[in-house]
């Protein structure tokens, strides 16, 4: 019974869990405990789903398709899981679980008690939205869940107002740009609906295949409509992904959000944006439609390369460490887009493996910063000075995570770069190699500014090591990034399978 309904449960459990939070759990640490329980259970569910997809556990009856409420497909809403979806589910729920577990002390500090249970409810709903996007097989559903997750994200960012009023402006900014992005995606879906008459992704892909067959026969029906849809998707998803030059919402949002909300969003929101990009470009539209008539791949590569350089240079100029990490995210999103733009199995492998590698690394770094925010006066470079002595365990994790951003061997970041460089040399492309190399060197520069400050002799003597729950969580994430850097066979294999599944077309 259970194994037949896992795809539904991964959405239903957190959805109900989130709604019930402010009703049932209002006092003290209870909302936190409940949230941790709910999010951890989604992690268990997604691991089980991954095992089902890989055939380790027996799958549900209609695998890979799951008709929601038993309505026949394509009329009813379909949930659908392929290796990519399962992999991304695990990433989201892993990061979300660890960050939720870590969040208690930091949120007690940053969110007033009367709003805290509400905050946790939104937190869980945000995660629900991201999980739902990943498992649904219905294009319109993607839009709805994307808005769910985004609205929740705007609230999470805005709740940083008790710490810094500028969070409100950041939130409104994020809301405006995020809504434009969502609108464009909706328009894209609408245009495709116009020519295919369906909202089911697999069905859309099949109808588009028929249309494309007609193009090859010389009959150019709907061609312009489809092209416009591709453009809408590219820009809309680019906004969600924070791909340069559509990244403007990201630095403020990550800087002024409550510390732990930054950790959550930095880990998963752009990753899900990248997932949506892959899903629409490859599964729904197919590489022939999305990359041939318009040179989307080349445009993506150039935007990615520019984003890597721009994000890193901006990171180099910041003095607020949260902002350094935020701009670093603009750069790191570039790596993901680079692999999508190359659009070969190896390129996609690099992108997909970077979804995981960057999620754990960046979340780990933000959790470490949350620990600093909890213990020290602030999170500027000056505040971090000498903390290597005062908070040695947290700062060791921070340094290790920084090495991961650079992509030093034996960290997860290296694995992604290995595949991206391999993909570009295989294709004889120079630009991506240069982007990766320059990005790594600039990352070295901006990470090292922080590391140097951290290990300076002078320190504020009043600062102590962070509470154990935060330290442990930091090390789980950073430890994972070290583990997956040293022993990357599993992640490489999973991401390669996912890449092949994507390029084959529908799951």
């Amino acid at each position: 019974m259970l194994r037949h309904n896992l795809p539904a449960l991964i959405v239903v459990v957190p959805l109900l869990g989130g709604i019930l939070t402010p009703i049932l759990f209002r006092r003290g640490a209870r909302p936190w405990a409940w949230a941790t329980f709910v999010v951890a259970s989604t992690f268990a569910l997604s691991v089980a789903l991954l095992l089902q997809v890989r055939g380790v556990l027996p799958a549900w009856s209609a695998y890979p398709s799951y008709p929601m409420g038993s309505w026949p497909i394509p009329w009813g809403i379909e949930l659908r899981l392929d290796p990519l979806g399962a992999f991304v589910l695990v990433i989201i729920s892993l990061v979300a679980t660890v960050v939720t577990f870590a969040a208690r002390r930091s949120l007690e500090r940053e969110i007033p008690e009367d709003r805290r249970h509400f905050f946790y409810a939104v937190w869980i709903l945000c995660i629900t939205g991201f999980l739902g996007i990943t498992i649904t097989g219905d294009a319109f559903n993607v839009y709805v869940l994307l808005e769910t997750a985004s609205l929740a994200s705007y609230i999470l960012v805005g709740m940083g107002r008790d710490r810094d009023r500028r969070a409100l402006k950041a939130s409104v900014n994020y809301l405006l740009l995020g809504s434009i992005g969502a609108c464009l995606i909706l328009l894209g879906i609408g245009y495709i609906y116009m020519v295919t008459g369906t909202l089911n992704m697999a069905d859309m892909a099949a109808r588009l295949g028929e249309i494309r067959a007609k193009w090859e026969g010389g009959e150019m029906i709907y061609r312009r409509t489809v092209m416009v849809a591709v453009a809408f998707f590219a820009v809309g998803i680019g906004l969600k992904l924070a791909l340069f030059p559509l990244h403007a919402w990201l630095p403020d949002a990550y800087t002024y959000a409550p510390s732990m909300a930054s950790a959550l969003l930095a880990g998963i929101s752009t990753k899900v944006g990248a997932y949506v990009a892959m899903r629409f470009f490859f599964t729904v539209l197919g590489p022939e439609v999305s990359f041939r008539p318009i040179p989307t791949g080349t445009i993506l590569q150039w935007c990615a390369a520019a984003g890597i350089v721009y994000g890193s240079l901006m990171a180099l100029r910041q003095t607020e460490v949260k902002r350094i990490l935020a701009y670093s995210s603009v750069a790191q999103v570039g790596y993901i887009a680079l692999g999508i733009g190359i659009a070969t199995p190896t390129g996609l492998q690099g992108s997909i493996v970077h979804l995981l590698n960057h999620a754990i690394t960046k979340s780990g770094l933000f959790v470490a910063l949350a620990a600093v925010a909890l213990q020290a006066k602030g999170t500027t470079l000056v505040d971090l000075r000498g903390l290597g002595r005062r908070m040695p365990v947290t700062m060791a994790a921070f340094t290790a995570g920084g090495l991961g951003l650079i992509g030093i061997p034996m960290t997860a970041g290296f694995v992604s770069k290995w595949y991206l460089v391999k993909a570009s040399i295989e294709q004889g492309l120079i630009l991506p190699v240069v982007a990766v190399v320059v990005g790594s060197l600039l990352a070295l520069a901006y990470v090292w500014r922080v590391v140097e400050a951290v290990y300076q002799p002078s320190a504020d003597p009043g600062v102590r090591e962070a509470p154990w729950s935060v330290v442990v969580s930091t090390w789980i994430l950073i430890g994972a990034s070290l583990f997956f850097g040293l022993h990357a066979t599993l992640t490489s294999r999973l991401s390669l399978e996912a890449a092949h599944a994507l390029l084959r077309g529908g799951p």
Partner: protein, 481 residues
């Protein structure tokens, strides 16, 4: 326990030493005893591999796959074993020297110093034993990072600046060139394993091979081939034991070792000679050799002059590899050993002078031969070895390098080698001349601490012994296939 496990253990022992050093951090005597004990054990372990290699045993150890098809693996062969022997053997002496130096010089954070030192040695052994280019690259980067805290040990603004140059140049070259070179090799050859005869034969054209080899040579920033040599003089802000072991032996030799190993086991000497892909790099190395020698002439800082001398001498080894002849390879490998003994002595002496008299400039050394006779005699003898005069080890290696160049049909390079040696005489001998011939400024005898003098005498004797007892090393190097 088979030989592969022994090799793995030799790599892990220094890491264990790090843990012991940290645990004994509050009791300096115990802490230093731990370092020396670990050094002895590591050296014995590495040395025990020599007879096994002679017996034709294959010394392999596969740890696990990092990426699919790219395992972390050890495969011990003569070149690597020789490098590991030098690094671990001189580590023991340097540890003794460090005790004298660090205490006499009242350095802080000594626990951190010894801990990172041990990690660096472990990385050097990892490089020496690596069974494929990928493993070598992992340890290469780890070595850069683990030596960074040693370079910036003083924590001053100057140290931080030097640290930036150190990290910047070494990481830039390795990411931009070495990394791309390795990925490229993997795509061309389908493997990155070190194999006798190389892995690229018949798989690529001469032009690609020439470019690829360039990526390796310049990517190995630790080999300090110009124009990527600036980190080495910068790294001289580190405490002298670091300059002595790491920036005359372990780190820089890891660089030239990488070049030698890639030449022999990735490209293959025959392949390179047939295609002539390495000729242009031989000239780059020759230029480095001469230019660095000229710069050394102009430097007044003692350690800085020695650093440029190191750059020049490293270029000999790169040149030996690039002439693509067996004799050049053997000469280069021998020069790793000979130069190690000579240069470490010079640095030990420089540190001894600093501790005893607080002098750091060549122009201040007038008459020091009277006040520090043992140190300055050792300095003189070691200078002779670095120049390549008999009866010191450096003469054999330079002879072999020149013979290799001539036999490979690069006679002009042999002349340049000779010119390089003359230059080294020109920048090293005046130091001794000042010390012994110029009148002293003050006359009271003040030698370096005994813990410094012991290692100095030992390494000087080693440089001498290498002349008479180079046969075992030759026998070991004959095993290069």
């Amino acid at each position: 326990m088979n030989a592969g496990h022994l090799a793995a253990l030799a790599f892990l022992l220094p890491l264990l030493g790090t843990a012991l050093v940290v645990l004994c951090g509050r009791r300096p005597n115990l802490r230093e005893a731990m370092t020396i004990l670990t050094g002895l054990a590591t050296f014995v372990l590495v040395a025990s591999l020599v007879p096994r290699l002679h017996a034709g045993e294959s010394i392999r150890m596969d740890f696990f796959e990092v990426l699919p098809g790219l395992p972390l693996a050890f495969d011990v062969e003569p070149l690597g074993l020789l490098f590991a022997l030098v690094a671990s053997g001189l580590w023991i002496l340097t540890s003794c020297y460090s005790i004298g130096y660090m205490r006499a010089h009242h350095e802080e954070h000594q626990t951190r110093f010894y801990a990172f030192f041990a990690i660096a040695i472990s990385c050097a052994i990892g490089i020496a034993f690596s069974g494929n280019v990928f493993t070598l690259f992992l340890f290469y980067e780890a070595l850069t990072l683990s030596t960074y805290p040693l370079v910036t040990h003083h924590g001053s603004e100057a140290a931080a600046k030097a640290g930036r140059a150190y990290l910047g140049i070494l990481v830039t070259t390795s990411v931009a060139f070495l990394f791309t070179g390795i990925v490229w090799t993997w795509i061309i050859a389908g493997t990155v394993e070190f194999r006798p005869g190389g892995i690229l034969q018949g798989k690529t054209n001469p032009l690609t091979a020439a470019v690829l080899l360039g990526l390796y040579v310049f990517g190995t920033g630790k080999a300090a081939v110009m124009p990527f040599h600036r980190w080495l003089p910068n790294a001289m802000v580190a405490p002298t034991p670091v300059s002595a072991l790491l920036h005359a032996v372990a780190v820089v030799k890891a660089g030239v070792f990488t070049v030698l190993k890639v030449t022999v086991y990735v490209f293959g000497i025959d392949f390179l000679r047939e295609t002539g892909a390495s000729a242009w790099l031989a000239w780059v190395a020759a230029a480095t050799m001469i230019l660095a020698g000229l710069v050394a002439l102009t430097r007044d800082g003692l350690k800085e002059r020695l650093a440029y001398s190191t750059i020049s001498q490293l270029a000999y080894i790169v040149l030996g590899a690039m002439v693509a002849h067996r004799l050049g390879i053997i000469g280069g490998a021998l020069h790793i050993v000979a130069h190690a003994f000579g240069k470490i002595t010079l640095f030990f002496c420089a540190g001894g002078i600093l501790v005893a008299t607080h002098k750091t400039k060549v122009s201040e050394l007038d008459g020091l031969g009277r006040t520090m006779p043992v140190t300055m005699s050792a300095f003189f003898l070691a200078s002779l070895s670095v120049i390549g005069l008999p009866p010191f080890g450096g003469s054999w290696s330079k002879l072999l390098l020149a013979m290799g160049a001539v036999q490979a049909g690069h006679a002009p390079l042999a002349w340049l080698l000779l010119a390089g040696s003359l230059l080294s005489a020109a920048y090293l001998l005046p130091i001794s001349a000042r010390a012994f011939l110029a009148p002293p400024k003050d006359d009271h005898r003040q030698e370096a601490p005994a813990m410094c003098l012991g290692p100095i005498c030992f390494t000087t004797a080693g440089a001498l012994a290498l002349f008479f007892l180079s046969n075992p090393i030759h026998r070991l190097l004959e095993g290069i296939r």
